[in-house]
Symmetry: C2
């Protein structure tokens, strides 16, 4: 194997596939990046067996030649060093060649690296997926949906299914739901499919997989293809394949958890509420329970308080834009609400309460594509 | 105590004095910031008993009123929360008052914080220092001198004296020296004194103290006063006092360690050498010895190599601007040289070698205010 390649483009692909590689893997071959040089370009692969990423560098891109393959071939090189090495090389191009059986040489200007590699025959094959049923959405919409749900997954392994995000498709409407059983984030969007009847539910994608995917795809409105198979999901963009395994098990039914009628409905400025809760939690970092108490005041304002006995007490008053219904007194995890308020892309929100001990709903004002549910905290 | 203060200016002073406060202190009162409101302004103090910082906020600055003191008084408040609280308050001013004996209230807009404090009578007094002998230098020069020596102090406590920077003054020339016994950094500068005969040696200031000082003072050419006392040093700038204790013990004599004649003298571009050594060390991160080997080539170039058997080998060629003397073959700690090359403010450097097993000297080309000494490493 021997090829000369544009260094910057190569760095980009190496960084992309490195996202799949775990430094803690127990399978030695998966510590490496598989590099495959063929006539039409160079293919890089990284995998931790949950996620696999394949990035293709064609010999020409935007009318510019970026790879010259002298000899075809394959090698696996340690990911840990490799990205750093090629980032710091002195010239705009580099030459990569396999010198000995599993040894590679990287040359750029007056720098020469001789690096020990691994046997490419040991590298696992990527899953084979039937691509007959596919749906599409813009990359930037996919990124938003991930950002607006992934934060709410469970980070503890007691119920592994909750570390994933539930995807359901029906009538070209995709619904993504994540919950850690104390709060829930849900996001809808319209998608396009080659089969308008395509539908699925109980597809649960590890939150970590989607977070890594989100880092790799750009913020453009270019479409990305999505294919759901038995126990895998495949995301396909130009020169990029991203595979993730799906989580086994049944995701809890979340539809009936969402209250449909509220007793107190308020609308208020997202930023005012966010700032007030952030300040209210400043003293409770020690206590770690992050509980804030909210009660309604006479003048349409709400009062947010947080007490940490050893340290002190915070009191915040926040004006509402509208206040309808019963007087309010409720306690909840303020940190969870901060997470949600940070990803709401709306300057105004509505909150529907149904009593001090019932879950309550937060939505962007006058929008229906997103919903957040919070459980109150019993404080007595 | 009760005062109203410009929030931004208050944040600045709180952050400055917080630099002296250690979260790991075993003396409870030193976890706090002492706040002292008097007729002419507010004084803040922070201390970890090694370093003490006092910042004064006058009632007027640049023609703008920044403090209004209603009632004089003193309190000590937990530093950990306090900086975060005042940073996040909603308005441009805040009101601080002592409500109960050791409890304070902070108000800004619709935010109210009630914070438990500590008894100011328990707060230690700052050292009293005879200020009759003082020398001065511009703040930006002091910052440079710290940056160019502090990196070379020892970080292990086996020889505590080497965790400090040695200062010597004679004939209005200040010499700062730091060494961890493997490498040494020395920096000279002219200073001004009210007593041209003022001299001292064996003043050893903890490296950590000078690094903290460097973070607080700005990069201006305003003069800072420096007073050396028995076991303390005091830095005095406008509205700022910075005290540090001095280290006990005798600093090793370093003058006779520096070779005066070399056998091989080379000059080369700082950046070329820095880039080449950084690349040479990319594979050795695992080995942790950071050894690079340098040898001269026929054509006036030098070759830098580094081998990590399990990973691979790097070879770098670097052109010299001039090469005089014997052929060269030496091994040394590349990481130490990177530290020095990063703070040399000169595009060209000279290196003087006196043999494979002798310390060698690196200087900015054609400048005499700075010197770096490195011990070679025996590799056989």
């Amino acid at each position: 194997m021997q090829f000369t390649i544009n260094r910057e483009r190569f760095v980009q692909s190496v960084q992309d596939v490195s996202k799949a590689i775990s430094p803690r893997t127990t399978i030695p071959i998966l510590t490496g990046i598989k590099i495959d040089a063929a006539e039409d370009g160079v293919t890089l692969t990284g995998s931790d067996s949950d996620i696999s990423i394949e990035s293709f560098i064609p010999f020409e891109e935007n009318g510019e030649q970026i790879v010259t393959v002298e000899t075809e071939g394959t090698i696996v090189l340690q990911a840990r060093f490799f990205a750093d090495i090629i980032k710091k090389l002195p010239e705009n191009t580099l030459e990569l060649s396999v010198t000995d059986q599993f040894t590679a040489q990287v040359k750029s200007g007056s720098s020469v690296f001789n690096i020990n590699g691994l046997d490419p025959d040991e590298y696992p094959r990527l899953p084979e997926i039937d691509e007959s049923s596919v749906f599409k959405m813009p990359k930037n919409l996919l990124k938003s949906m991930i950002r607006q749900t992934a934060f709410a997954v469970s980070t503890v392994e007691t119920r592994p299914i909750l570390t994933g995000i539930h995807w359901a498709l029906s009538g070209e409407k995709l619904t993504c739901t994540a919950t850690d059983s104390h709060r829930l984030a849900m996001r809808h969007a319209e998608v396009k499919s080659n089969d308008a009847d395509l539908s699925f539910s109980n597809v649960v994608i590890p939150g970590k997989s989607l977070s890594e995917l989100s880092k790799i795809i750009d913020d453009s409105d270019e479409l990305i293809d999505i294919i759901v198979a038995e126990n895998q999901i495949l995301f396909k963009a130009t020169n990029l394949l991203f595979f993730s395994r799906l989580l086994d098990g049944n995701y809890p039914a979340t539809d009936n958890m969402i209250p449909t009628s509220g007793k107190t409905n308020i609308t208020l400025e997202t930023k005012h509420l966010l700032d007030a809760i952030e300040r209210a939690l400043l003293l409770s970092r020690e206590g770690k329970n992050n509980v804030v108490h909210v009660k309604s005041l006479e003048d349409g304002k709400i009062e947010i308080t947080s007490v940490t006995p050893e340290v002190g007490k915070v009191t915040e008053h926040v004006a509402t834009n509208s206040y309808d219904g019963e007087a309010l007194q409720i306690s909840f995890n303020g940190k969870n609400m901060i997470d949600a308020l940070k990803i709401v892309e709306s300057s105004e929100i509505t909150v529907d309460f149904t009593g001090a001990m019932s879950p309550f709903v937060l939505k962007p004002a006058e929008m229906d594509h997103m919903l957040h549910l919070f459980s109150p905290v019993r404080t007595y």
